[in-house]
Amino acid sequence: MRRALVIAVPYFWLLALFLVPFLIVLKISLSDTELAIPPYTPTLDLSEGWAGFRAFLAALDLENFTFLTTDDLYWKAYLSSLQIAVVSTFLTLLVGYPIAYGMARADEAWRPTLLMLVILPFWTSFLIRVYSWMGILSQEGYLNQLLVGLGVISEPLTILNTNTAVYIGIVYTYLPFMILPIYATLERMDASLLEAAEDLGCSRLSAFWLVTVPLSKSGIIAGCFLVFIPTIGEFVIPSLLGGSQTLMIGKVLWEEFFSNRDWPVASAVAVILLLILVIPIILFQRNEQRQREAEGK
């Protein structure tokens, strides 16, 4: 009984916060647009009972999904989002790993402070932090003023409203999600393993590659997923920092929803996006599970 309850809680969580919203979106993706409130048809009318439900089901079709295949915009946007997500995950790893490594190697008395410094930016609104990047990166912004002032460049650089700004924004925003899991695995690592490796003739660099990196693999994977998954559907950062050439599925979805008032097609785009994301999430789950089993818990 108790066991059933323990299992029921996460399943209820999944049902309420994932499955129900997904079914609502799926339902809209199968309907048609109409100039009305809400702007799609059919809407489910339960007052007619079973017959009403049957009529509702009969009116649904896959038209909106086939529509997505007729225009190359959609797969281009999916691909471009994937590309931006992969590159920025890699960049975040490149920046985040040394930071996590430094934190884990720091004096024990310092670690809580360093950890605090990583978490601290979350105390400010995410939106404000992205806005401040606009101030830093703009044509007359602080970065250009500094570089021109130092004589490094003579003409201000155009960074804001380009993909470069989007990468900067994403790496900055998601960096803590990369650092924290890597730090967690590195901190747990037994330092005597490194000594052993060096005793056995490893150089410090090869000890790092042969011992430290493999042992922090689970942290790297966790960090990469935590960055990759939200980045694919990212809307705020590309719309504030990106330019007109930044093509991401989040923006396409916005346009379907707001400009075309086509909720059904917008929902179809969202359903496909979810399917693309479910695959890495399942891989992530598998990895977690395997790790837990390996640790014998």
Partner: protein, 360 residues
């Protein structure tokens, strides 16, 4: 940004004290003198919750989703027309709006094409879509002969190529940019024929590589700070940018011109959603806004013309006397209006717009 955030902050504070005596207004950003909001609260004893948006699309989605919780919203003419058709607005009760006698027939005649009989809405402000330019920077890029008052400035690739380095913003509003492109090509700007609309694409696509950003509100600050030198924007917004630059005393001189080829004339209409929680309070707000002095204060502050005849003697000279705000007869003749696209055409337009903006 400052004036956009301030009401939002106020909203956060007020939202905790929700009650029946409150009116929720959803208006465009940078579109009112905030002193008027306080005046409304003191005069009527109603609590005002004032929230802002910067695109008709956002407003329309909220309206069509239903249950927005707003009592007064401000769609533009074409959007209003479609939302009325969807049943989003309630007819106004003019017995509760004695100040509607102040409205200006010239504008009422024109808004009637969107709202037959002006039954669902009153005009708040109107204006034109035109060209903003940083005089010094454009002269630097194009020489003194840069055509500041012609669409050639923004639609000729050779001009845009030279302007690229100092920054050009376009409104992210296909329903305004495509008519402007068609007008420049000598076509009917209000065409709903996909074949005619398609003619705008090569023109816009040719200048797109030189456009820094398509956005409908960032250009105000960007112009004022000197971050960009040219924008296609809304008349009053550009004039606000001009004034911010003067206030900042940063040496930036901004001018606004309605293009000589003809400019789009648009109308922002105040309306009450069908499901407004407080229609009584909404009428009180509309009546307050139509007061001659209040409307004059609003126009004096935001530099947009209004549809209120009685307010005109109370307008400052740099508003009523500025042809960029109140165009003279000749310019007025040269202005055109548009009507909403049917949904099939809308999809063609949006898709074309995405293609233009993203290059795909």
């Amino acid at each position: 940004m400052k004036s956009t955030l301030a009401p939002l902050a106020a909203l956060a504070v007020v939202a905790t004290a929700a009650g029946a005596d409150e009116v929720r207004v959803y208006n465009w950003s940078d579109y009112i003198d905030e002193a008027l909001l306080e005046k409304f609260e003191t005069e009527t004893g109603l609590e005002l919750i004032y929230d802002v948006f910067d695109s008709n699309e956002v407003l329309e989605t909220k309206m069509l989703a239903g249950g927005s919780g707003y009592d007064v919203v401000v769609p533009s003419g074409t959007f209003l027309q479609r939302q009325i058709a969807a049943g989003a607005f309630q007819p106004l009760d003019f017995d509760k709006l004695p100040n509607s006698a102040n409205l200006w027939d010239v504008i009422k005649d024109r808004t009637e094409q969107y709202d037959p009989g002006n039954a669902h809405s009153i005009n708040y402000m109107w204006g034109t879509t035109g060209i903003a330019a940083n005089v010094a920077k454009v002269a630097e890029a194009l020489g003194e002969e840069g055509p500041l008052n012609s669409l050639a400035l923004v639609f000729e690739p050779e001009n845009m190529e030279k302007l690229q380095s100092c920054g050009v913003h376009f409104l992210d509003a296909p329903a305004e940019l495509i008519p402007a492109a068609l007008k420049y090509l000598g076509e009917d700007p209000d065409s709903h024929d996909p074949d005619v609309i398609a003619k705008a694409e090569p023109l816009l696509a040719a200048v797109r590589p030189y456009v820094l950003k398509f956005h409908s509100s960032e250009y105000i600050n960007a112009l004022a700070n000197g971050d960009i030198c040219v924008a296609i924007g809304w008349s009053g917004d550009v004039l606000q940018a001009r004034d911010r630059a003067i206030e900042a005393d940063n040496g930036v001189e901004i001018v606004y011109n309605a293009p000589v080829e003809g400019a789009l004339m648009w109308f922002d209409q105040m309306a009450i959603p069908a499901d407004a929680p407080n229609p009584e309070g909404a009428h009180t707000f509309l009546n307050f806004i139509m007061d001659a002095q209040n409307m004059a204060d609003a126009s004096n502050y935001v530099y947009f013309a209004n549809g209120n005849l009685a307010s005109q003697p109370l307008l400052e000279e740099d508003v009523i006397g500025d042809p960029a705000i109140y165009p003279d007869e000749a310019t007025l003749e040269n202005l055109y209006t548009t009507t909403p696209y049917p949904s099939k055409v809308q999809r063609v337009v949006t898709r074309m717009w995405t293609r233009i903006k993203s290059g795909t």
